[in-house]
Symmetry: C2
Subunit: 622 residues, 2 copies
Amino acid sequence: MGNSDYVYPSAATEGGGECLHRAAIPPPQPFVKSLKNSLKETFFPDDPLRQFKNQSAARKVLLGLQYFFPVLEWGPRYRLGLLKSDLISGITIASLAIPQGISYAKLANLPPILGLYSSFIPPLIYAMMGSSKDLAVGTVAVASLLISAMLGAEVSPTQNPTLYLHLAFTATFFAGVFQASLGLLRLGLIVDFLSHATIVGFMAGAATVVCLQQLKGILGLTHFTHATDLVSVLRSIFSQVDQWRWESGVLGCCFLFFLLVTRYFIGELKKGLNPVSITDLVMVSPHLSIAIKTGIITGVIALAEGIAVGRSFAMFKHYNIDGNKEMVAIGTMNMVGSCFSCYLTTGPFSRSAVNFNAGCKTAVSNVVMAIAVMLTLLFLTPLFHYTPLVVLSSIIISAMLGLIDYDAAIHLWKVDKFDFLVCIGAYAGVVFASVEIGLVIAVAISLLRLLLFVARPRTLVLGNLPNSTVYRNVEQYPNAGNVPGILILEIDAPIYFANSSYLRERIIRWVDEEEDRIKVSGDSTLQYVVLDMSAVGNIDTSGISMFEEIKKILDRRGLKIVLANPGAEVMKKLDKGKFIENLGHEWIYLTVAEAVAACNYMLHSCKPNPETDEKTEAWNSV
Amino acid sequence: MGNSDYVYPSAATEGGGECLHRAAIPPPQPFVKSLKNSLKETFFPDDPLRQFKNQSAARKVLLGLQYFFPVLEWGPRYRLGLLKSDLISGITIASLAIPQGISYAKLANLPPILGLYSSFIPPLIYAMMGSSKDLAVGTVAVASLLISAMLGAEVSPTQNPTLYLHLAFTATFFAGVFQASLGLLRLGLIVDFLSHATIVGFMAGAATVVCLQQLKGILGLTHFTHATDLVSVLRSIFSQVDQWRWESGVLGCCFLFFLLVTRYFIGELKKGLNPVSITDLVMVSPHLSIAIKTGIITGVIALAEGIAVGRSFAMFKHYNIDGNKEMVAIGTMNMVGSCFSCYLTTGPFSRSAVNFNAGCKTAVSNVVMAIAVMLTLLFLTPLFHYTPLVVLSSIIISAMLGLIDYDAAIHLWKVDKFDFLVCIGAYAGVVFASVEIGLVIAVAISLLRLLLFVARPRTLVLGNLPNSTVYRNVEQYPNAGNVPGILILEIDAPIYFANSSYLRERIIRWVDEEEDRIKVSGDSTLQYVVLDMSAVGNIDTSGISMFEEIKKILDRRGLKIVLANPGAEVMKKLDKGKFIENLGHEWIYLTVAEAVAACNYMLHSCKPNPETDEKTEAWNSV
């Protein structure tokens, strides 16, 4: 390893000026400007205003409209070839939307016809404003159940059905307001915390749950649990073995027969489109607060489901959805919906999966569904008096099975065990508890990983690659050799309060271990500790104190600390925190190679305090 | 900047072998071994077993005992010179412990004498096992209030005082078990999430709150709110203006006078040491569950206060406390205490602050306090029938005022605005709500910062420093020049699900902007995008998908993606995720300089697919 002594630092090779030997402190920026920059990077990473630059006023208006109404962008490019696919998928989801809407409205203790109303207006709004091509709009079971639980606790749906109905509209309105505000406040970044692994687990779990729910239709049961977890469903099924319709088991063979045998009674349905309900919104006490509370809670849950579902299918088809736009679109469709006799809608998993499987191409399938529902409302409602549940169930199950992505789960296991854990967490949470608990578990495990990464960063020992000025991790490059008298460490994460005491201990332990090793091997004694800061993206005040403490400890042991390549943000903070002053700017180098060269010069000339000129001279004389 | 073309990569200068041109994939490690390593780094960063290596059996036993009983380490080195300081501070805190203990016991609806018992046994245990030199052990207001609220809801302290008392002992026992388990499970890393900024804010807030509480004594009020927030305290004070003892206002002038005027009636106190209460622990239903619940909740809160306080004073005196040891020590003292008529104790802020101010040097001050309390219990309890509260209040207030660290807050504002926000959050939370809410707010803001750092990492454009092979951020080094036809980006954080869609958008936007710039300036067209991965500590499956998508997008636009210096962990994941296969190992370079040299060679020889031999030849011929 001796040949790595006195390595000539590359940066100085061709007579570079003094600036090259110094890690620069970036030019100072006014606080307001840097705050503005970081807010922009945080909330407007897509820079939505960029395309508006240097455009005529008319074009600006058009672009602005296109931003809020993506239909203006893709609509003009819509070709008839796509219509065929959208028509098929739209009609398919309409055939699902009608019975599903009716049963979810019953779950929410609302008149069944509301389920149909809710599949008419909101999909039209979403088709104009949404950025997903696969999301099918409709009501969802969880939100329906929550509405009946929360509002029902205050107003009885049987004794005071009108007030209950009006409160449901009001809650929907506030859910919409809340959802759209999140989007307008650019909080779409919340969506980034739903990872690929979370979604794989979530989809498989949701598919399992939806399949289990279909056992009701398949077995022809009339009583069934409203809970969605595995245990409740299995208990519900096996507690009524005598009620099983074994005929349903041979479903594939005699499909039509069952259209007559298994039926679902839903009561009278009136003809006619959605009545206006804007005047029904309850904006006065005493029930306003429960409506707002219900709105916010169901709104968040519906939003999480809608965006997770939208993201899942976008991932399948390799396009992007914009979280902020989605929030505004879903919020607006609920606000408008609440004025036209609709209750809370979002993008339900089952309906979107059927839409995707039926080959939808654009949001036009939502329009087709809305038109089909409209025609039903105008002419066909009496026909839906009897709904063949078994057909519905078989459509849903076949769509679901394709969504349990074993291969993706195996891939996660192979590449990243932690991601696999997240995926299994989401799956088990959805199957054994509920959709929200599954999401919460997966997000919590994912966040824990981020926190652990920051709380326990790796510190790597660097060695010199033979015949070069490159210093790399000795574990990754086993031929990298250590430099006598100098310990080179790389810190692999930002230095924050959460890791500063760990890093202090870990760095001191590296030094202890190196000294132990030297004692045994009889190498030259340790005199310099070079810290490669290339990977330290940021530092806070705890981190600066940590450096001060390390410096004190190493000073006491006669060791000198040297920094290599701190980034702009870190230099700024170290300068403001007076650590550069304390350490001496001459002990901060641009590259590890230069730091090592300077240390080597000191080691061999035994001078404790380097002067740049002397160093350069020494280097030039090698 | 033309002179940076064809820069000779330094690593190859001296005839380095092929290995130098390839970023190495680290040798594969069995899953169990890598899991073991990362668990060790996470939970045993201090490597507590290291000192046991190569030691005799007897020495091992001694070291083991010293680990759990730090007194065995510092005890033999204890000098008489320290005793004077410890004696003074011990007696000072004893004089505080007696009235404080009595009033907190009353808060908990327990017999007043329990406050004295609790200042006798637990401090002795802590002195042997604790690692803080400044923590003074005793009961705390918040936990006392919680005990009375939680247990009192199930058992009335007036109608069934014996059962209530026994349940309090049982809850204390379970609090101790829970606290010690957290320590034994090595979850001390929770403590790392209390940052310097949090503690500065928390201490200032707590000092403010404690000062406000002393207004009771200063103004000689007999009725006072049990709440600790600013609003409640001020309302309580100003609602009884007629009760104010204006005499107290001139406290400083005629101290002794007030010893006679202002008094506090506390009822009978029996002589004698703690009776054994181990047989009083309630280990059977029906009240076991409430005792366990109370124990866990009060235990966590007491632990948070004790460790935050211990850490604060350790920071003042520049020593470390070990979170895991502290948890075991505090847990043990509560388990033992519950067997000797003590209820929940921890390190109260006010008492520790007085201890610190009185100049304590070691945990011996706790022993002195315990002895003083013991003597009081044996001989002096009747004297404490009248406690001069005004003296107590003035001692506490003077200690508190020194703990509001304006300078630290100003320093935070100057160096790091975000840390300042955390500090103010903690302060406002403590003053306007409660100690726990303040802690929660500060920790939440701190975590949010970590998450934002990961969710919105910076991407930096690198340029070539003149006459060198060093590439650095052009913002930090304005003289760094861009290389025609090549865009060099550095990613500044691990690539996780939380930032992968952001990074994809951001990188594509950099490419767009660079192409726009080139269109205007007429420079040579962009052909290569070099991503410097030095600062990317880790990657998950979402990150790998992100790279695949970027590659697809850039391929479509005729751009080639090149990676420079991915670390060991990243190389391993990219390899397992088949991205290296997809990209081609020849497009991953050890340094940015080598990547740029290869791209330049391609640019000028117009060959789309590099062969290492050709490259080396080309470089050598420059």
